[in-house]
């Protein structure tokens, strides 16, 4: 098992605590469906951090990582659509289900190119929704919590892109640089998503 340094372990521990706090106390004033969806999003952050702490950075080499991590943008974007653009919810739900099935299928049975395309398209659109939709609502309402969601989306986007480079063997940014950055990114994401989604 590759050794993780102390400071990264602390970042992961705080990610677990922060995400857990928002899961427990965060969203009691909103309806059930977004609560479930946001719990999934923050829950993946809790589990990812726990697994990184217990199993080490090697856990990122597992095939399931892409599939599970996709749940973060999918669930949070679905929750946002439900809360703020409810008329589009059903269409977007169909899009997310199709996207998720495509990513799973291409990851296990499809080609490498199909897998990259499926992730880039579906994951990418979900990521853009959680980045751009809150900015739109911030401009409309001046409510600061929307910006927090966008900041969280920005950082998780960076983390996702860095991981994608490593996973698909691109050597622009080597894994020895990417992996130590992930715990900090996870912590930043959990703080901003927590603050943004819980209002």
């Amino acid at each position: 098992m590759k050794k993780m340094n102390f400071i990264n372990k602390i970042f992961l521990l705080f990610t677990i605590l922060v995400s857990s706090y928002f899961i427990v106390n965060g969203f009691d004033d909103i309806s059930v469906i977004p609560v479930i969806l946001y719990t999934i999003g923050l829950g993946v952050l809790v589990l990812a951090s726990l697994l990184l702490l217990l199993f080490g950075i090697e856990v990122l080499e597992n095939k399931l990582v892409v599939i599970v991590s996709t749940l973060i943008p999918f669930s949070i974007s679905l929750g946002l659509i439900f809360q703020y653009v409810n008329v589009m919810f059903l269409y977007y739900l169909i899009f997310v289900v199709m996207g998720y099935l495509s990513i799973i299928y291409s990851r296990y049975l499809g080609s490498r190119v199909a897998s990259i395309l499926a992730i880039a398209f579906f994951h990418g659109i979900a990521g853009l929704i959680i980045f751009l939709l809150p900015i739109y609502f911030f401009i409309k309402t001046s409510s600061l919590h929307f910006i927090f969601i966008s900041i969280g989306a920005f950082f998780i986007g960076i983390g996702g892109i860095l991981l994608l480079f490593v996973k698909f063997g691109k050597s622009y940014i080597p894994s020895r640089i990417v992996f130590p950055l992930l715990p900090l990114i996870l912590l930043i994401v959990s703080i901003f998503f927590g603050l943004g989604l819980s209002k």
């Binding site: 098992m1 857990s20 899961i23 427990v24 106390n25 965060g26 009691d28 609560v35 719990t39 923050l42 829950g43 809790v46 589990l47 726990l50 697994l51 217990l54 199993f55």
Partner: protein
Amino acid sequence: MNLIIIKIMVMKNRFKIYLELIKSYQTILLLFTGIAGFVSSRCPYMNFGIFLGLILSLFLTISGSTILNMYIDRDIDVKMMRTKNRPLPLGRIKANEVLLLGLIVSFIGLVIAFWLSFIYGVVVFLGIFFDVVVYTIWLKRRTPWSIIWGGISGGMPILAGRVLGIGRIDFIGILFALSILLWIPTHIMTFSMVYYKDYERAGIPTFPSKYGFKNTRFIIALSSIGVAISIGIGFISLGMAIGYLRLLVVLSVGLIGISISSIKNPSKVKNLGLFKYASVFMLASLIMVVLGV
């Protein structure tokens, strides 16, 4: 002056050895289960004296039974790599002193427990009896199924804590004791796989030696799932806030996921990971009980 310093040094060294005899990590974890059991009762007459009595009696009885186990198992400990550096196998302390210490510490703990409440004292006494007499003396060297009794004794502190709070044994207390009972095999069985040769050398029957690694992994995974279910029912029965249930579901998904994965693609790393995760899960659940009731 020098004599006093030497005496202090000797006492300090003795105290250090005593601390090694009580397996402090395990004792603190079990003590915490007792505190969680007590807090879960939302005891209406809770005061500092009772709370201190609970901590003291549990700490002493858990420590006492651990010390007595060290005395009884000293011939095994010397044969195992994992335990050969404990104070008794190394000869840093005499066996009779350990026996006397274990008896005194357990006795004081039991006196406090019975003084606090008779039924609480009975549960605490059963914890020591199951651990020292049934598990260690009677069954440990005979059958791998002895761990059931190890598990039952491990579940006694949380049950005792709840009994002290509500004055009787109830369904929630038994449920929490069951969750500890199910958690303990994951601990002991993982150790018996990791230190398989040690246990063979010492002639201790274990699940891996009798039923094989594959079946043992399967049982560990099933126990872990059982832990998640029993804690979940416990949370609902306690009427915990919905937020805590949400977090419990998240953590349970992880526990069940790793359990299933360790059955499908077994490996040493996964087993150790599952063991660690189950311990974190247990600790997190108890913290939630303390914070959430």
